[in-house]
């Protein structure tokens, strides 16, 4: 008892790299928002709150998360239900819950709840995982995906699905099953295209494969993003000097396309620095996962950090034109409280799982 009071659970590598990343993020956001101090100030408050939350969460023992995993999932579903019933409709989508002056995106919690729930469900199962367990896991994943997808919010739904699948894969899903599902996915893709995807989503995918088909309509965003990044060159145009950013050619500069702002104003060297920080964070998470005290912690760290990575890479690939446009923020940089808080929560859990050691008898 005394010991745990004295000890503060803290990972200096993650702390400093996240500190660097979010500080740079404020700096980038200042330019991306056309020097709007109120936006930057709000983001700053969220970051400070996020760090406090992260440090607080990382003090909790991993067992607390394990014991409350089911509760956590149910709570997240409740929030989704409230959003569905009472959430305001913004731009044709119902994603937000308003509490007094604050509003947050309820689906963010599922990103955490799903991997923790599945890790809890699978950590004590024998290898290889049995069909029944796979079935239940997939059912949870598909339910969560569909709930978020019909808000509609394809980006978050995909991330939630990925977070579940990562845990399932890490916990030892058999290779034959993986191969089989892959074949199934390919076979069912026409069905997905025609029935599940909304017309605007189909349009986005179509323009991705043929951007010149409609340069002023659907492919405007991606063309302007590439022009912004490309015109940044090696060293960039300088802070606040990006013409694509500041003359409104680039859309969504504060959120989805903030990476294009960085590319335009800081060039290839700026991008290289930014990606190095992300890479460092990923490698540190991998280390923590491999050295975690038990299977549950490993699965949670792996699931959460890979979810973070997938989020990052989907955003990057989208803005550089390697993937069709999907609404997804750049972690720790894009404007947005919900996303920041959920990221800091995730890293709080990762630090908690990675730093609490149990000394087992040899």
């Amino acid at each position: 008892m005394n010991k745990s009071l004295q000890k503060i659970y803290f990972d200096p590598y993650l702390f400093f790299s996240l500190f660097l990343l979010s500080t740079l993020g404020l700096f980038f956001l200042f330019s991306a928002s056309n020097m709007d101090t109120s936006i930057v100030l709000k983001q700053f408050v969220y970051i400070v709150a996020g760090f406090i939350l992260m440090i607080t969460i990382s003090q909790l023992d991993p067992d607390i998360f394990r014991r409350n995993a089911v509760l956590f999932l149910i709570f997240s579903f409740l929030l989704l239900g409230i959003t569905y019933l009472f959430g305001p409709e913004i731009n044709g989508a119902q994603r937000w819950i308003r509490v007094g002056p604050f509003s947050f995106q309820s689906s963010e919690f599922l990103k955490l709840a799903v991997p923790i729930f599945l890790a809890n469900f699978l950590f004590d199962k024998k290898l290889p995982i049995q069909k029944k367990e796979i079935g239940i896991s997939l059912l949870v994943i598909v339910c969560c995906f569909l709930f978020v997808f019909r808000q509609p919010d394809l980006g978050t739904a995909l991330i939630i699905a990925f977070s579940g699948l990562f845990v399932l894969f890490l916990s030892g899903l058999s290779w034959t099953f993986i191969g089989g599902s892959f074949v199934l996915l390919v076979v069912s893709s026409p069905f997905i295209w025609n029935i599940i995807l909304q017309p605007f989503q189909r349009q986005r995918i179509a323009t991705f494969f043929n951007p010149e088909s409609d340069p002023f309509g659907a492919s405007w965003n991606i063309i302007q993003s590439k022009v912004a990044i490309g015109s940044g060159g090696l060293l960039g145009k300088g802070f606040g000097e990006g013409s694509q950013t500041h003359l409104n050619f680039l859309p969504e500069t504060e959120t989805d396309f903030i990476f294009s702002v960085i590319g335009e104003e800081f060039g290839f060297l700026g991008v290289l620095l930014l990606l190095s920080i992300y890479l460092f964070i990923l490698l540190r998470c991998l280390y923590l996962a491999l050295s975690a005290r038990d299977r549950f912690c490993r699965l949670v760290i792996g699931g959460l950090s890979l979810t973070f990575a997938a989020n990052l890479i989907i955003n990057l690939c989208m803005v550089v034109g390697l993937l069709p446009v999907v609404g997804m923020p750049l972690p720790f940089i894009s404007k947005g409280g919900s996303s920041l808080i959920s990221l800091f929560l995730a890293f709080g859990i990762i630090v908690s799982m990675g730093t609490h050691k149990k000394f087992l008898p040899q």
């Binding site: 004590d124 024998k126 290898l127 990562f166 894969f169 890490l170 916990s171 030892g172 302007q224 590439k226 022009v227 912004a228 990044i229 490309g230 015109s231 940044g232 060159g233 090696l234 013409s243 694509q244 003359l247 409104n248 050619f249 590319g263 060039g267 290839f268 991008v271 290289l272 990606l275 992300y278 890479l279 990923l282 490698l283 991998l286 996962a289 491999l290 299977r295 490993r298 699965l299 792996g302 890979l306 990575a309 997938a310 990052l312 890479i313 990057l316 690939c317 550089v320 034109g321 390697l322």
Partner: protein, 611 residues
């Protein structure tokens, strides 16, 4: 779980985690490679694309060059006027702005409603908008005193294209008219940007439409400048990045002569017709006048639709440039050329005489060609034939001519061709030939047609320009210069030599003597004008028949209709014996050539010679 199992699980996890993290790292590398492709390999393309996004280039109109006469007097100039220009983006409340400025600048309801309609879009895009054109002096001073109240408006100079002689030079100078864009002159600027051109002329973008304004468009236009604005994605102008001054067009120096042109206009009066005069030494055209005329000032600066329709529908066709487009039978003025054809082909010589009974009968058909004088002129040689304008002499000469040879001979004097180097829309008129008649009328050429040519009637038609050019050939004994209006860049004058080895110097001398006699002798058909001047003039008059009639009595019947009366024509050159100017005058339905067209030719020669 037992320990071994846990170890297996851990290894299994490590492999799978490494695999997934490896995939993510590969994803990061793919992004980095793509960013490298965009920023390093594709840099120049994307940099250009970014510049093209934001740089909005608009043309800045250039001023046109001015046009001068041969004495350095300006014929067309750019006259400054003042417009009130506003910056709608700085106007908070449009109605109160209009109320505030109304006492300073008088505004019509039409101007206000036009302004209100346009100002919203201009305000959004940060573009300027003209509120009122052509401010009066009082309006300017009233505004300037109160300009501190109107930070959103300013007065700018805009030009009008005007001539101090808007009516007498209309056809030769031509007019300018408004165009939407001049994109051919600046291919680097997209066509759609021309709607935002920075104007120098109050009337907008203008371009020469006729006359010298059109013919020398490239010379007069100059080079438009350009301003590059920074523009955002919504089409709003943010700031001006660069400005290239437009280059004013070059001035045009013509050989026109204001005094002589004024004489032509004055003495032609309100009759329909044309006058052309050529300086024999330079080949420069001193007078090119067509009547009736119209005001190029009105036309070049925005004429009302009503006035324009009136002009277009006028049955006298004021837009028609009779000097270079009017087709008239040369009538008796063709006789010198026919005489030279006779000399050249040994059909006649200066001593050859015929008996002129007053008519010529075509042997084949018995058709009778009458002269102007009943009873004829008695014994007629070539000298006398010119003086008294004997039709019988020249019809019997033409009777012996070969039509192909004769056609070619007439063409060598410039008939049936464009003769002016830089006249706008010159008509080549027409010299007939047997093939032409066959293809058009499906009838063979008959001797009667050739005989008709001998007296400048029938199918042969010429323009006043061609007649003046022909007069210049006669005056210079063939050493003439192709007529032109303006010289650019010291271009070489094209000396043209009319040559026929069979026409000797003494033939030319006798020809000049005979043509001098037409005006100066007691028997000349144009002797009525000989006392109008102090110098001697040679020439040949003509009366072009519009209706072919066999008797004077019949003509008296049709004379009551003015439009069927004969055209009065004269070609003349002087002062003799060393002529400096050649002139042609055609007066439609003016009847007797010498007495009607003659005085106009003399007055024009007088103002040219006495200058």
């Amino acid at each position: 779980m037992i320990f071994e199992e846990r170890q297996v699980e851990k290894n299994n996890f490590s492999v799978r985690a490494a695999l997934l993290f490896g995939l993510m790292i590969l994803g990061l590398i793919a992004v980095l490679v793509q960013v490298f492709a965009l920023q390093v390999s594709g840099y120049s393309d994307y940099q250009l694309a970014a510049l093209n996004n934001k740089n909005y280039a608009v043309p800045v109109q250039s001023l046109r060059g001015e046009i001068y006469d041969r004495n350095g007097n300006v014929l067309v100039k750019n006259q400054p006027t003042y417009d009130l220009i506003t910056r709608p983006n700085l106007i908070v409340d449009i109605d109160s702005f209009i109320e505030k400025i109304k006492p300073v600048i008088s505004l019509s309801e039409k101007e206000i409603s036009r302004y209100k309609k346009l100002q919203k879009d201009k305000a959004f895009a940060n573009k300027e908008l003209v509120l009122k054109k052509d401010l009066s002096a009082e309006e300017i001073s009233r505004f300037q005193v109160r300009s501190f109240n109107f930070q959103n408006a300013f007065i700018a100079q805009r030009f009008r294209r005007v001539s101090d002689y808007p009516n007498i030079f209309s056809h030769v100078l031509g007019y300018t008219s408004r165009i939407d864009s001049d994109f051919e002159s600046m291919p680097e600027i997209p066509r759609s940007h021309w709607k935002d051109v920075e104007l120098k002329y109050a009337h907008g973008l203008i371009k020469g439409q006729s006359g010298l304004e059109e013919e020398y468009e490239d010379h007069l236009r100059g080079r438009h400048g350009q301003r590059i604005f920074e523009m955002n994605a919504r089409g709003q102008l943010i700031q001006s990045l660069s400005f290239t001054q437009p280059k004013k067009g070059l001035d045009l120096y013509t050989h026109l002569d204001i005094g002589a042109q004024k004489s032509a206009a004055k003495f032609l009066g309100n009759r329909k017709g044309a006058v052309v005069a050529i300086d024999l030494e330079s080949g420069g055209i001193n007078v090119l006048y067509s009547s009736p005329t119209y005001s190029i000032n009105e036309l070049s600066n925005g004429m009302s639709e009503n006035n324009f329709q009136t002009l277009i529908n006028n049955s006298d066709k004021p837009f028609f440039n009779r000097a270079v487009q009017g087709r008239y039978p040369p009538a008796s003025t063709i006789k010198p050329a026919i005489g030279m054809y006779g000399l050249s082909n040994n059909i006649v010589n200066w001593d050859f005489e015929i008996e002129d009974p007053g008519f010529f009968t075509l042997p084949e058909t018995g058709r009778v060609f009458r002269g102007w004088r009943k009873g004829g002129h008695g014994k007629v040689n070539m000298h006398k034939a010119f003086l008294v304008s004997s039709n019988t002499y020249f019809t019997s000469l033409a009777y012996q001519a070969d039509i192909i040879d004769l056609s070619n001979y007439l063409s060598s004097f410039g008939f049936g061709k464009k003769v002016c180097k830089d006249c706008f829309a010159e008509d080549p008129a027409f010299v007939p030939s047997p093939e032409w008649k066959y293809s058009i009328m499906n009838k063979g050429w008959v001797k009667g047609d050739t005989v008709n040519l001998g007296i400048g009637q029938g199918y042969l038609v010429s323009t006043p320009m061609q007649l003046a050019n022909y007069a210049a050939i006669l005056a210079t004994k063939g050493q003439y210069i192709q007529p032109f209006l303006a010289s650019v860049d010291n271009q070489k004058k094209s000396l043209k030599i009319w040559q026929d080895e069979k026409i000797s110097n003494s033939d030319w001398k006798k020809m000049h003597e005979a043509l001098l006699g037409v005006i100066e002798s007691d028997y000349g058909t144009a002797r009525s004008i000989r006392n109008l001047k102090e110098f001697q003039v040679a020439g040949k008059s003509g009366t072009a028949e519009l209706v072919s009639l066999d008797s004077k009595e019949a003509y008296q019947d049709i004379r009551t209709s003015e439009l069927l009366r004969d055209h009065s024509i004269i070609i003349a050159f002087g002062p003799m014996p060393n002529p400096r100017y050649a002139v042609s005058v055609v007066i439609e339905n003016g009847e007797s050539g010498g007495a009607v067209a003659g005085p106009v030719a003399i007055e024009v020669l007088k103002s040219l010679i006495n200058e």
